[in-house]
Symmetry: C2
DNA sequence: CCGAGCATTGGCATCGATAACATTGTGTGC
DNA sequence: GCACACAATGTTATCGATGCCAATGCTCGG
């Protein structure tokens, strides 16, 4: 039975107005609304009725000022439209929303320490209670370390600072799944198009790939490097396609994999008949590419949720010992991989 | 020469601390920092020095409380990872950042009026100075209208309320470009896979497509409907591929177009030899699909920037007459379209 | 040489909610 | 039946910056 009485003309109703209408003090209103135990059921009802009648909404600015709690977390990401960023941010946002937290985002155009610092400062200025860093920290400046000390921070890429918790997908496992899948199909060895070196997950994938090959005693081909973009995948595909030995490629992201496949196609190498390709991420389009893309699915949503839940715990008790968390990727076999021809 | 003196132990320095160090009053500090004209250069310098020395950062909560200005805008989007959403949000974020505004986001899982209301309220509670609605307003509730009256709001989808400015891409033009391109290639007529009916831009595209066909006196095939997802494109592709007449299809988004092409491929209809396909958006992968996708590029970044600049103007002067703004899409011809066979 | 007028700066109240403390009222044990 | 504990509510100070108005000091014209 909502209803915004007559006094609409002036400013929005404050706690004092609610108190007046309910016939109690402002403090009681505060307690009733905060769910404080020591409030009579009758009083709480009166307060709620008054709130409803006036259409009262708490003033976050004031609450923040006096209590220091903003019920907001900040997210730092790179200014790109890659699927991983989007999916992750989405997961974080949803989880935060469910936890009753608002999300403020600050994107950075580059990975410079100073740019990241600036993003973190922008968020700190908004008094976020926690921070999720979804970018790699190339160099941890003194400023950054101080910030992570002051604001509970979770890093997603896996970059560590002395005062940061880490939530990550086991990227090495992702790589091992992909590589082993290709070896199981009978390929002699597997080539790799890696992500940019600054990204720890790119490095972990490369490392996992290398580990499997070495464990199996296969020759380890030189590593090719991309920048996550389809275009960079394409460039590397043009190289791979010209090397007769290549029969299997593990690409560090689906988007690059699309580029690789496209290049191979142009060079007349068929996928998967001549060359098998595996990506990482399981973007929505992976299934609808020709051929549909075998890939390692990343549980972005869960990761976002995990990051938020850890952050909440960390916020609630900053002294709790940081415990790194990780979730597991899963292999999704589609049509871009096939047994090696003999 | 930054430096955070010794008094780190206690709480962060406030304006009073700066004032003390600089040997002036808090007001003067406020004025100096706000760039107020009537402050002596010498004083301002002293203040800045003190700020620097203490590592002072303004307290946004307090500023917001006393001045009412939060320097934050809110964005409401749908909880999806479609490219258009991502790209647009990115553009808004970047533009806002440049304008010195922070961005708070609230995603909604559904398009229910009540869900959107909730998102808007969440943002309103954070005292955003302006709002960007990037979701279609199916039904404008009283609550929503009141909110848009209280908070300057820009809608991106094109949905209008009595008190809202609109920024949009000319979607009808996008559709006309695509359709005409296909007709110019000699196709008898063009089929259309539309987006969900709730979305105004989907409707505009359908309308533009229909207009061109009618203007040219072509038969207007029945309209197929998708939900923006690749999967829905695939389903519609399975239908289109079974209709012998079909030689040209205009799909309302690239992601759906991928699905359509995939389905046609599976049915043995070649693209573009048998059927030409045009999408909308120009996602990064469009160029790396096989065949590379002809599409209508949407200037998402500019749109975000335009939305923000209009919002700034609107915030600065809420009484200014709303003037709808629009930007133009451009056709990008790639390999998924070819002349009709005779 | 003096007062008007402007440029600078300081004091005080204020925004809205909350924490800490004070106060009233109620029940219970001995 | 009295004191003491505890539950329920009210009072006051506070968070940090800003707006408004007053006060100071300086310059310039007459």
């Amino acid at each position: 039975m909502k209803n915004q009485s007559v006094r609409d003309a002036s400013r929005p109703p404050g706690m004092a107005d609610v108190a007046r209408v309910a016939g109690v003090s402002a403090q009681t209103v505060s307690r009733a609304l905060a769910g404080h135990p020591n409030v009579q059921e009758k009083t709480r009802a009166k307060v709620l009725a008054a709130v409803d009648q006036l259409g009262y909404r708490k003033n976050n600015a004031a609450r923040m000022l006096s209590s220091g709690r903003s019920r907001t977390i900040g997210v730092v990401t790179l200014q790109t439209s890659f699927y991983s960023r989007t999916a992750l941010t989405l997961g974080i946002e949803r989880a935060a929303q469910e936890a009753g937290y608002a999300v403020s985002t600050a994107t950075t155009a580059s990975l410079d320490t100073s740019a990241i610092e600036a993003s973190m400062l922008r968020l700190a200025d908004q008094h976020v209670e926690g921070l999720v860093l979804a970018v790699p920290l190339i160099h941890v400046s003194r400023q950054i370390e101080q910030l992570t000390r002051a604001v509970p921070t979770i890093t997603i890429d896996g970059s560590r600072t002395p005062t940061t918790e880490v939530v990550a997908v086991d990227q090495s496992l992702a790589a091992r799944l992909a590589t082993r899948h290709l070896l199981d199909l009978g390929h002699e060895t597997v080539w790799h198009v890696a992500g940019p070196g600054e990204w720890l997950d790119a490095a972990s994938r490369a490392q996992g790939w290398r580990a499997v090959l070495e464990a199996e005693g296969r020759t380890v081909p030189p590593e090719l490097k991309g920048d996550w973009s389809p275009a960079s995948g394409y460039r590397n595909g043009l190289i791979l396609g010209r090397i007769p030995d290549v029969t299997a490629v593990f690409v560090a992201s689906d988007e690059m994999a699309f580029g690789v496949i496209r290049a191979l196609h142009e060079l007349g190498r068929r996928v998967p008949e001549d060359i098998s390709v595996v990506g990482v991420d399981d973007i929505a389009l992976a299934e609808y590419c020709s051929p549909s893309l075998t890939t390692v699915a990343q549980p972005f949503a869960e990761m976002g949720a995990l990051a938020v839940s850890h952050l909440m715990r960390y916020i609630a008790d900053p002294d709790a010992s940081p415990e790194p968390a990780s979730v597991e990727p899963t292999l999704v076999v589609r049509a871009s991989t096939a047994p090696a021809r003999r």
